[in-house]
Symmetry: C2
Subunit: 166 residues, 2 copies
Amino acid sequence: MLAGMTAMAPTRTEPDLSFLLDRTSHVLRTRMAAALAEIGLTARMHCVLVHALEEERTQIQLAEIGDMDKTTMVVTVDALEEAGLAERRPSSTDRRARIIAVTEEGARVAARSQQIVDQVHEEALAALPANERAVFLRAMNRLVTGHLAEPVEHAQPVRRARQRGN
Amino acid sequence: MLAGMTAMAPTRTEPDLSFLLDRTSHVLRTRMAAALAEIGLTARMHCVLVHALEEERTQIQLAEIGDMDKTTMVVTVDALEEAGLAERRPSSTDRRARIIAVTEEGARVAARSQQIVDQVHEEALAALPANERAVFLRAMNRLVTGHLAEPVEHAQPVRRARQRGN
DNA sequence: TATTGTTATACTCTATAACTATA
DNA sequence: TATAGTTATAGAGTATAACAATA
Protein backbone atom coordinates (compact mmCIF):
# COMPACT_ATOMS: atom_id res chain seq x y z
CA MET A 1 0.00 0.00 0.00
CA LEU A 2 2.50 2.61 1.13
CA ALA A 3 5.49 2.75 -1.13
CA GLY A 4 7.85 1.96 1.73
CA MET A 5 10.49 3.32 -0.53
CA THR A 6 13.21 3.47 2.03
CA ALA A 7 11.68 2.13 5.17
CA MET A 8 15.09 1.11 6.29
CA ALA A 9 14.78 2.49 9.77
CA PRO A 10 16.36 -0.47 11.54
CA THR A 11 19.62 -0.32 9.62
CA ARG A 12 20.19 3.26 8.58
CA THR A 13 20.76 6.19 10.83
CA GLU A 14 20.37 8.89 8.19
CA PRO A 15 16.94 10.43 8.19
CA ASP A 16 14.68 8.82 5.63
CA LEU A 17 12.70 11.81 4.49
CA SER A 18 10.70 9.74 2.00
CA PHE A 19 9.51 7.42 4.69
CA LEU A 20 8.68 10.24 7.07
CA LEU A 21 6.66 12.24 4.55
CA ASP A 22 4.92 9.24 2.96
CA ARG A 23 3.94 7.80 6.27
CA THR A 24 2.68 10.97 7.90
CA SER A 25 0.78 12.18 4.85
CA HIS A 26 -0.80 8.79 4.34
CA VAL A 27 -1.91 8.39 7.92
CA LEU A 28 -3.19 11.96 8.10
CA ARG A 29 -5.12 11.43 4.88
CA THR A 30 -6.68 8.27 6.27
CA ARG A 31 -7.70 10.00 9.48
CA MET A 32 -9.09 12.96 7.61
CA ALA A 33 -11.11 10.73 5.31
CA ALA A 34 -12.56 8.84 8.26
CA ALA A 35 -13.42 12.02 10.15
CA LEU A 36 -15.10 13.67 7.16
CA ALA A 37 -16.92 10.46 6.26
CA GLU A 38 -18.86 10.81 9.50
CA ILE A 39 -20.72 13.75 7.99
CA GLY A 40 -20.88 12.19 4.56
CA LEU A 41 -18.10 14.17 2.91
CA THR A 42 -14.95 13.29 1.07
CA ALA A 43 -11.93 15.53 1.23
CA ARG A 44 -12.68 16.72 -2.30
CA MET A 45 -16.26 17.59 -1.45
CA HIS A 46 -15.06 19.61 1.53
CA CYS A 47 -12.51 21.39 -0.62
CA VAL A 48 -15.02 22.33 -3.30
CA LEU A 49 -17.62 23.40 -0.77
CA VAL A 50 -15.26 25.72 1.06
CA HIS A 51 -13.94 27.41 -2.05
CA ALA A 52 -17.31 27.68 -3.71
CA LEU A 53 -18.51 29.53 -0.63
CA GLU A 54 -15.78 32.14 -0.83
CA GLU A 55 -17.00 33.58 -4.11
CA GLU A 56 -18.77 32.69 -7.34
CA ARG A 57 -16.63 30.08 -9.03
CA THR A 58 -17.00 27.79 -12.02
CA GLN A 59 -16.16 24.11 -12.03
CA ILE A 60 -12.92 24.75 -13.87
CA GLN A 61 -11.84 27.35 -11.36
CA LEU A 62 -12.64 25.03 -8.48
CA ALA A 63 -10.81 22.20 -10.22
CA GLU A 64 -7.68 24.32 -10.48
CA ILE A 65 -7.81 25.34 -6.83
CA GLY A 66 -8.24 21.75 -5.69
CA ASP A 67 -5.72 20.44 -8.23
CA MET A 68 -8.25 18.07 -9.75
CA ASP A 69 -8.97 17.12 -13.30
CA LYS A 70 -12.17 18.62 -14.68
CA THR A 71 -13.61 15.12 -15.05
CA THR A 72 -12.93 14.44 -11.38
CA MET A 73 -14.66 17.70 -10.60
CA VAL A 74 -17.78 16.50 -12.43
CA VAL A 75 -18.21 13.52 -10.14
CA THR A 76 -17.41 15.61 -7.06
CA VAL A 77 -20.08 18.15 -7.96
CA ASP A 78 -22.48 15.32 -8.78
CA ALA A 79 -22.00 14.03 -5.24
CA LEU A 80 -22.53 17.48 -3.74
CA GLU A 81 -25.71 17.99 -5.73
CA GLU A 82 -27.03 14.58 -4.81
CA ALA A 83 -26.41 15.36 -1.16
CA GLY A 84 -28.22 18.66 -1.54
CA LEU A 85 -25.14 20.66 -0.57
CA ALA A 86 -24.55 22.53 -3.82
CA GLU A 87 -26.18 23.27 -7.15
CA ARG A 88 -25.01 23.99 -10.67
CA ARG A 89 -26.21 27.32 -11.95
CA PRO A 90 -25.59 28.78 -15.37
CA SER A 91 -23.05 31.57 -15.37
CA SER A 92 -24.59 34.89 -16.31
CA THR A 93 -21.53 35.86 -18.34
CA ASP A 94 -20.59 32.59 -20.06
CA ARG A 95 -23.29 30.20 -21.10
CA ARG A 96 -20.83 27.31 -21.29
CA ALA A 97 -19.82 27.58 -17.65
CA ARG A 98 -21.57 26.53 -14.44
CA ILE A 99 -21.30 28.37 -11.18
CA ILE A 100 -21.25 26.06 -8.16
CA ALA A 101 -23.73 27.53 -5.68
CA VAL A 102 -23.61 26.21 -2.11
CA THR A 103 -27.00 25.62 -0.50
CA GLU A 104 -27.84 26.72 3.04
CA GLU A 105 -27.43 23.15 4.16
CA GLY A 106 -24.13 23.07 2.28
CA ALA A 107 -22.92 26.13 4.14
CA ARG A 108 -23.78 24.55 7.48
CA VAL A 109 -21.99 21.35 6.52
CA ALA A 110 -18.96 23.32 5.32
CA ALA A 111 -18.68 25.10 8.64
CA ARG A 112 -18.79 21.77 10.41
CA SER A 113 -16.33 20.09 8.06
CA GLN A 114 -13.89 22.93 8.52
CA GLN A 115 -14.04 22.35 12.27
CA ILE A 116 -13.33 18.69 11.66
CA VAL A 117 -10.36 19.46 9.41
CA ASP A 118 -8.91 21.86 11.95
CA GLN A 119 -9.38 19.37 14.73
CA VAL A 120 -7.69 16.52 12.86
CA HIS A 121 -4.75 18.80 12.11
CA GLU A 122 -4.66 19.94 15.70
CA GLU A 123 -4.59 16.38 16.99
CA ALA A 124 -1.71 15.53 14.71
CA LEU A 125 0.31 18.58 15.70
CA ALA A 126 -0.34 17.89 19.37
CA ALA A 127 2.58 15.47 19.23
CA LEU A 128 4.90 18.47 18.99
CA PRO A 129 6.07 20.71 21.83
CA ALA A 130 4.88 24.28 21.27
CA ASN A 131 8.30 25.64 20.43
CA GLU A 132 9.02 22.88 17.94
CA ARG A 133 5.70 23.35 16.26
CA ALA A 134 6.33 26.80 14.86
CA VAL A 135 9.71 25.77 13.53
CA PHE A 136 8.23 22.65 12.01
CA LEU A 137 5.50 24.53 10.18
CA ARG A 138 7.94 27.13 8.95
CA ALA A 139 10.19 24.34 7.67
CA MET A 140 7.30 22.62 5.90
CA ASN A 141 6.44 25.88 4.19
CA ARG A 142 10.04 26.27 3.12
CA LEU A 143 10.02 22.80 1.60
CA VAL A 144 6.76 23.46 -0.20
CA THR A 145 8.10 26.64 -1.74
CA GLY A 146 11.64 25.38 -2.14
CA HIS A 147 13.09 22.47 -4.03
CA LEU A 148 9.92 20.48 -3.49
CA ALA A 149 7.77 23.17 -5.05
CA GLU A 150 7.26 21.48 -8.39
CA PRO A 151 7.23 17.84 -9.41
CA VAL A 152 9.95 16.96 -11.85
CA GLU A 153 8.85 16.57 -15.46
CA HIS A 154 8.00 12.92 -15.87
CA ALA A 155 10.79 11.11 -17.66
CA GLN A 156 8.31 8.40 -18.44
CA PRO A 157 4.84 9.87 -18.04
CA VAL A 158 2.58 8.36 -15.45
CA ARG A 159 0.21 7.35 -18.17
CA ARG A 160 1.23 6.40 -21.67
CA ALA A 161 -0.45 8.19 -24.54
CA ARG A 162 -2.97 5.97 -26.15
CA GLN A 163 -1.74 4.11 -29.23
CA ARG A 164 -3.04 5.41 -32.49
CA GLY A 165 -5.40 3.00 -34.13
CA ASN A 166 -7.00 1.86 -30.88
CA MET B 1 -4.04 14.19 -9.08
CA LEU B 2 -3.11 15.48 -5.65
CA ALA B 3 -6.04 15.39 -3.29
CA GLY B 4 -5.85 19.10 -2.72
CA MET B 5 -7.91 18.41 0.32
CA THR B 6 -7.61 21.79 1.88
CA ALA B 7 -5.54 23.80 -0.49
CA MET B 8 -7.16 26.88 0.85
CA ALA B 9 -3.98 28.84 1.20
CA PRO B 10 -5.32 32.11 -0.17
CA THR B 11 -8.13 32.43 2.34
CA ARG B 12 -7.05 30.70 5.51
CA THR B 13 -4.21 31.60 7.75
CA GLU B 14 -4.19 28.43 9.82
CA PRO B 15 -1.56 25.98 8.68
CA ASP B 16 -2.98 23.38 6.34
CA LEU B 17 -1.01 20.35 7.40
CA SER B 18 -2.77 18.11 4.89
CA PHE B 19 -1.71 20.27 2.01
CA LEU B 20 1.85 20.59 3.27
CA LEU B 21 2.35 16.87 3.77
CA ASP B 22 0.53 15.76 0.62
CA ARG B 23 2.37 18.19 -1.55
CA THR B 24 5.86 17.58 -0.20
CA SER B 25 5.53 13.80 -0.13
CA HIS B 26 4.11 13.74 -3.61
CA VAL B 27 6.79 15.94 -5.12
CA LEU B 28 9.56 14.08 -3.31
CA ARG B 29 8.16 10.79 -4.51
CA THR B 30 8.10 12.06 -8.08
CA ARG B 31 11.67 13.28 -7.88
CA MET B 32 12.81 10.03 -6.31
CA ALA B 33 11.12 7.97 -8.99
CA ALA B 34 12.73 10.02 -11.73
CA ALA B 35 16.19 9.82 -10.15
CA LEU B 36 16.01 6.06 -9.60
CA ALA B 37 14.57 5.51 -13.08
CA GLU B 38 17.88 6.70 -14.49
CA ILE B 39 19.49 3.49 -13.29
CA GLY B 40 16.47 1.38 -14.12
CA LEU B 41 15.08 1.02 -10.60
CA THR B 42 11.75 1.73 -9.01
CA ALA B 43 11.56 2.75 -5.37
CA ARG B 44 10.30 -0.73 -4.53
CA MET B 45 13.17 -2.42 -6.29
CA HIS B 46 15.60 -0.25 -4.37
CA CYS B 47 13.87 -1.02 -1.11
CA VAL B 48 13.94 -4.79 -1.69
CA LEU B 49 17.52 -4.73 -2.89
CA VAL B 50 18.78 -2.89 0.16
CA HIS B 51 17.00 -5.06 2.68
CA ALA B 52 17.80 -8.28 0.90
CA LEU B 53 21.46 -7.31 1.12
CA GLU B 54 21.37 -6.89 4.88
CA GLU B 55 20.64 -10.53 5.60
CA GLU B 56 18.95 -13.62 4.19
CA ARG B 57 15.31 -12.74 3.84
CA THR B 58 12.27 -14.37 2.24
CA GLN B 59 9.80 -12.59 0.02
CA ILE B 60 7.29 -12.39 2.84
CA GLN B 61 9.81 -10.81 5.17
CA LEU B 62 10.81 -8.28 2.54
CA ALA B 63 7.17 -7.55 1.81
CA GLU B 64 6.56 -6.73 5.47
CA ILE B 65 9.57 -4.46 5.68
CA GLY B 66 8.55 -2.55 2.57
CA ASP B 67 4.86 -2.58 3.52
CA MET B 68 3.86 -4.25 0.28
CA ASP B 69 1.37 -6.97 -0.48
CA LYS B 70 2.96 -10.34 -1.22
CA THR B 71 1.56 -10.20 -4.74
CA THR B 72 3.24 -6.85 -5.27
CA MET B 73 6.44 -8.40 -4.02
CA VAL B 74 6.19 -11.09 -6.70
CA VAL B 75 6.25 -8.56 -9.53
CA THR B 76 9.00 -6.56 -7.83
CA VAL B 77 11.19 -9.63 -7.50
CA ASP B 78 10.33 -10.60 -11.08
CA ALA B 79 11.68 -7.23 -12.19
CA LEU B 80 14.85 -7.62 -10.12
CA GLU B 81 15.47 -11.07 -11.54
CA GLU B 82 14.87 -9.94 -15.08
CA ALA B 83 17.37 -7.13 -14.55
CA GLY B 84 19.89 -9.62 -13.19
CA LEU B 85 20.03 -7.87 -9.82
CA ALA B 86 18.62 -10.63 -7.61
CA GLU B 87 17.70 -14.29 -7.67
CA ARG B 88 15.20 -16.50 -5.94
CA ARG B 89 16.84 -19.34 -4.03
CA PRO B 90 15.09 -22.08 -2.12
CA SER B 91 15.32 -21.62 1.63
CA SER B 92 17.32 -24.37 3.27
CA THR B 93 14.96 -24.50 6.21
CA ASP B 94 11.54 -24.05 4.59
CA ARG B 95 10.96 -25.51 1.18
CA ARG B 96 7.95 -23.26 0.59
CA ALA B 97 9.97 -20.07 1.00
CA ARG B 98 12.38 -18.30 -1.34
CA ILE B 99 15.39 -16.37 -0.19
CA ILE B 100 16.05 -13.27 -2.28
CA ALA B 101 19.77 -13.33 -3.08
CA VAL B 102 21.30 -10.13 -4.46
CA THR B 103 23.76 -10.62 -7.29
CA GLU B 104 27.13 -8.85 -7.47
CA GLU B 105 25.66 -6.50 -10.04
CA GLY B 106 22.70 -6.03 -7.73
CA ALA B 107 24.99 -5.04 -4.89
CA ARG B 108 26.74 -2.48 -7.06
CA VAL B 109 23.41 -1.05 -8.18
CA ALA B 110 22.16 -0.92 -4.60
CA ALA B 111 25.17 1.07 -3.52
CA ARG B 112 24.54 3.51 -6.32
CA SER B 113 20.80 3.74 -5.69
CA GLN B 114 21.44 4.45 -2.03
CA GLN B 115 23.63 7.37 -3.06
CA ILE B 116 20.83 8.61 -5.27
CA VAL B 117 18.27 8.33 -2.49
CA ASP B 118 20.52 10.19 -0.07
CA GLN B 119 21.19 12.89 -2.62
CA VAL B 120 17.52 13.46 -3.42
CA HIS B 121 16.80 13.75 0.29
CA GLU B 122 19.72 16.08 0.73
CA GLU B 123 18.55 18.34 -2.08
CA ALA B 124 15.10 18.57 -0.54
CA LEU B 125 16.42 19.37 2.91
CA ALA B 126 18.75 21.99 1.49
CA ALA B 127 15.80 24.38 1.58
CA LEU B 128 16.15 24.45 5.36
CA PRO B 129 18.66 26.44 7.41
CA ALA B 130 20.89 24.09 9.37
CA ASN B 131 19.40 24.91 12.74
CA GLU B 132 15.84 24.44 11.48
CA ARG B 133 16.71 21.14 9.89
CA ALA B 134 17.41 19.22 13.07
CA VAL B 135 14.23 20.50 14.69
CA PHE B 136 12.25 19.63 11.59
CA LEU B 137 13.51 16.06 11.47
CA ARG B 138 12.92 15.60 15.17
CA ALA B 139 9.38 16.89 14.71
CA MET B 140 8.73 14.55 11.78
CA ASN B 141 9.89 11.65 13.89
CA ARG B 142 7.58 12.74 16.67
CA LEU B 143 4.65 12.80 14.26
CA VAL B 144 5.52 9.39 12.88
CA THR B 145 5.62 7.86 16.31
CA GLY B 146 2.84 9.99 17.77
CA HIS B 147 -0.75 10.41 16.79
CA LEU B 148 0.10 9.75 13.16
CA ALA B 149 1.70 6.42 13.97
CA GLU B 150 -1.15 4.23 12.80
CA PRO B 151 -3.84 4.72 10.20
CA VAL B 152 -7.34 4.70 11.63
CA GLU B 153 -9.34 1.52 11.01
CA HIS B 154 -11.27 2.06 7.81
CA ALA B 155 -14.89 2.89 8.54
CA GLN B 156 -15.67 1.92 4.98
CA PRO B 157 -12.87 -0.25 3.66
CA VAL B 158 -10.90 1.05 0.73
CA ARG B 159 -12.05 -1.89 -1.30
CA ARG B 160 -15.42 -3.50 -1.00
CA ALA B 161 -15.57 -7.24 -0.41
CA ARG B 162 -16.52 -9.04 -3.56
CA GLN B 163 -20.20 -9.91 -3.90
CA ARG B 164 -21.03 -13.54 -3.40
CA GLY B 165 -22.17 -15.27 -6.54
CA ASN B 166 -19.78 -13.40 -8.82
C1' DT C 1 -5.04 -26.60 9.28
C1' DA C 2 -1.92 -22.75 8.18
C1' DT C 3 1.60 -20.52 5.35
C1' DT C 4 4.71 -19.28 1.04
C1' DG C 5 4.56 -18.08 -3.24
C1' DT C 6 2.03 -17.83 -7.65
C1' DT C 7 -1.49 -16.70 -11.10
C1' DA C 8 -5.50 -14.60 -12.49
C1' DT C 9 -8.57 -11.18 -11.97
C1' DA C 10 -11.59 -7.67 -10.05
C1' DC C 11 -11.90 -3.14 -8.14
C1' DT C 12 -10.75 1.75 -7.61
C1' DC C 13 -8.90 5.77 -9.20
C1' DT C 14 -7.99 9.00 -12.37
C1' DA C 15 -6.79 10.76 -16.80
C1' DT C 16 -7.52 10.62 -21.85
C1' DA C 17 -10.48 10.98 -25.82
C1' DA C 18 -14.38 12.41 -28.01
C1' DC C 19 -18.31 15.08 -27.94
C1' DT C 20 -21.81 19.24 -27.39
C1' DA C 21 -22.58 23.82 -26.62
C1' DT C 22 -20.94 27.81 -26.52
C1' DA C 23 -17.12 31.67 -26.97
C1' DT D 1 -10.26 27.98 -33.33
C1' DA D 2 -10.53 27.39 -28.33
C1' DT D 3 -12.88 26.49 -23.92
C1' DA D 4 -16.55 24.54 -20.22
C1' DG D 5 -18.60 20.72 -19.16
C1' DT D 6 -20.03 15.88 -19.97
C1' DT D 7 -19.71 10.92 -20.96
C1' DA D 8 -17.40 6.81 -21.75
C1' DT D 9 -13.54 4.21 -21.20
C1' DA D 10 -8.74 2.95 -21.00
C1' DG D 11 -4.60 2.39 -18.19
C1' DA D 12 -2.14 1.83 -13.97
C1' DG D 13 -1.93 0.23 -9.54
C1' DT D 14 -3.00 -2.93 -6.21
C1' DA D 15 -5.65 -6.03 -3.50
C1' DT D 16 -8.56 -10.27 -3.33
C1' DA D 17 -9.37 -15.11 -4.42
C1' DA D 18 -8.01 -19.47 -5.53
C1' DC D 19 -4.50 -22.64 -5.96
C1' DA D 20 -0.07 -25.72 -5.38
C1' DA D 21 3.43 -27.09 -2.54
C1' DT D 22 4.91 -27.58 1.89
C1' DA D 23 4.78 -26.95 7.07
